[in-house]
């Protein structure tokens, strides 16, 4: 017999009507809550808070490490009299300027690096040389060039943002697939348009990581820099607030300042970066 058997299947002929029946398996409430990242994170934060409180109490050394409750009391107190909000706002303003400029500068450097050979070498030499340098190395130059004002702090912030963002961006650019590069060049995209329309979106996960790290290091640097550049009467930022209260041995206030940094960090991570991630790399399927 040289005849194959063909069997027609009719059993799913009920067609469209059946197609859209989605069986949603109801999860128990706890599991449902747990599957929400927000809830899980809140639980983690609460556990950390609890650990702080307990450790603080056990340690019983309020001059070194206050309990969370003391810290929160100081926090509420300082929020109440407006000082903490004021200081945080002063810091955030400077931070945003430095961060923005850092990103712009990083963009310029990276674009040079990606488009010319000498630019690549320049970026590599500069990051290798300057990235490990502590801010202290820049202070004299900052003082000479920009004096004691915000500009100097911005300059130092630049230093902490620019190399990180540039390195991550460059490594992202380098990892863009050959095919996508060829596609971009096929459409005669060159220079900035090529970078903006092909490289940046294709390297977006790396860039985002660079931005996150740059943000964190901008904070660290800002708080350290505020000490060096001092303040004119009553206008310091969070760094100065922390320093001042340390000097006054008002340790709960010091930790209230640090708590403010933590809270801002959580807000920025979970609102800003998370949102960007959701709208971009997640949506584009570029992140598992």
């Amino acid at each position: 017999m040289t005849r194959a058997t063909i069997t027609l299947k009719k059993d799913s002929a009920d067609g469209d009507s059946a197609r859209h029946v989605v069986v949603v398996r109801e999860l128990p409430l706890i599991q449902k809550l747990w599957s929400d990242a927000f809830v899980r994170k809140t639980v983690i934060i609460l556990l950390l808070a609890l650990a702080w409180e307990i450790y603080g109490r056990l340690l019983d050394n309020p001059l070194l490490f206050p309990t969370l409750s003391d810290t929160i009391a100081a926090f509420i107190d300082r929020i109440g009299d407006g000082i903490l909000v004021d200081r945080a706002w002063t810091s955030i303003k400077v931070l945003l300027i430095g961060y923005a400029l850092g990103i712009i500068l990083a963009a310029v450097i990276t674009i040079l690096a990606i488009s010319t050979q000498i630019g690549t070498d320049f970026l590599e030499v500069m990051t290798a040389m300057f990235n490990p340098l502590p801010a202290i190395a820049l202070l004299p130059l900052a003082l000479i060039w920009f004096g004691l004002g915000t500009t100097s702090i911005v300059f130092v912030l630049l230093h902490s943002v620019v190399w990180v963002v540039a390195l991550n961006t460059q490594s992202g650019f380098l990892a863009v697939s050959h095919t996508l590069r060829m596609v971009g060049r096929n459409y005669e995209l060159t220079g900035l348009r090529y970078v903006a329309k092909i490289l940046i979106p294709a390297a977006f996960p790396s860039i985002l990581t660079g931005l996150k790290i740059g943000w964190a290091f901008a904070w660290r640097t800002l708080i350290a820099a505020e000490l060096v550049f001092g303040v004119a009467s009553g206008q310091g930022g969070l760094g100065w607030f922390i320093f001042e209260n340390r000097n006054l041995l008002d340790i709960p206030a010091v930790f209230a300042g640090l708590l403010t940094v933590i809270i801002i960090g959580l807000i920025v991570e979970n609102l800003v970066f998370r949102l960007i991630e959701k709208k971009t790399v997640r949506r584009w399927g570029m992140q598992g």
């Binding site: 070194l64 004096g147 001092g230 041995l249």
Partner: protein, 312 residues
């Protein structure tokens, strides 16, 4: 043509109380106006350390620095005399506080007993300790206790001292830390005060500037001198009001009563313009090599305008 706007550095501590009074009451502006410099604007800028103030002076961002005496000496030496003092305005005692009952004199320090100083080797406290060691153990043994010193800022040192199991049992403290430690830490006792090491005490808060600025702005220098005098007089006459000014500007939450009590401790009202003990201090610094040139007399590193002070 004198400057119409100057910036003076300050550090947030009770040691610098006269400066706070000058700032609050506008004393420099007032004196300058009397001398014909109208509308002088004085900015006060807080710095976290003497080093930062020094950089600010060197980069022409501030005109006058209010910092420790050691800082002045070092800068005078390194700039070959281009920076000089205007006046000092406090000589409060620094105290070596220990909470270890076994330690009663310098002789009792074993190799494992750590002494906290703000900066090893070069801070006022570290040098005073060397001078004390020289007195105690003889001329060639001035560095005997250096190995025991560890570097720790005052707040951290205070916190460590409060920690009964901590490795730091002794702290060469400045007020108000010494006062607080003595009040709160069990067994805390004073081993040594700066006045024991240098008879008549040692100046702390010192105002200094570049000779270039001083030559161009003699009236401002005079105004600073006059304002210092007035501020010190005010503090002595109205300690309660001075304390209020301190609390307001520094943000210190310590009660006024407690601060007043602190000022009542021995030596704590030694606000004075005459440089105290500076030559002894300078001699030691040059002996151990920190200063490269040895001043012959205290007026070498103070402005001619200050020569009338009864310094030492």
């Amino acid at each position: 043509q004198e400057k119409t706007e100057i910036t003076i550095t300050k550090q947030p501590s009770i040691l610098y109380l006269p400066a706070l009074v000058m700032q609050k009451q506008g004393l420099i502006e007032k004196s300058a106006a009397q001398d014909g410099v109208k509308n002088l604007k004085v900015n006060w800028r807080s710095f976290s350390s003497g080093g930062a103030s020094t950089d600010a002076l060197l980069s022409d961002n501030v005109e006058i620095v209010n910092s420790g005496l050691g800082n002045l000496l070092l800068l005078w030496d390194r700039t070959k005399g281009k920076v000089k003092g205007i006046t000092t305005n406090s000589a409060l005692p620094l105290e070596l506080v220990s909470r270890d009952p076994k330690i009663k004199t310098l002789k009792d320090f074993g190799p494992r007993d750590k002494i906290a100083v703000p900066t090893v080797r070069v801070s006022t406290q570290a040098i005073l300790l060397q001078m004390a060691a020289e007195k105690e153990f003889g001329k060639d043994n001035w560095s005997k206790l250096d190995a025991n010193t560890v570097q720790l800022g005052h707040p951290d040192a205070a916190a460590m001292l409060a920690n009964a199991s901590g490795e730091i049992s002794t702290h060469f403290a400045a007020p108000p830390f010494s006062y607080k430690e003595l009040k709160t830490v069990p067994n805390a006792h004073v081993l040594l005060r700066s006045n024991d090491i240098i008879d008549g005490g040692l100046s702390q808060s010192t105002l200094f500037t570049t000779t270039k600025f001083a030559e161009a702005n003699p009236k401002i220098i005079k105004a600073v001198l006059a304002a210092s005098e007035e501020a010190i007089a005010f503090i002595k006459a109205h300690p309660d009001q001075a304390v209020d000014i301190y609390r307001e500007i520094s943000g210190d939450q310590t009660s006024a009563a407690e601060l007043l009590d602190m000022l009542k401790q021995p030596g704590m009202m030694d606000f004075q313009m005459a440089p105290a003990g500076s030559m002894k201090f300078a001699e030691h610094m040059s002996k151990v090599g920190i200063l490269k040139t040895k001043p012959a007399k205290w007026t070498d590193y103070f402005m001619p305008e200050s020569a009338g002070l009864n310094g030492s």
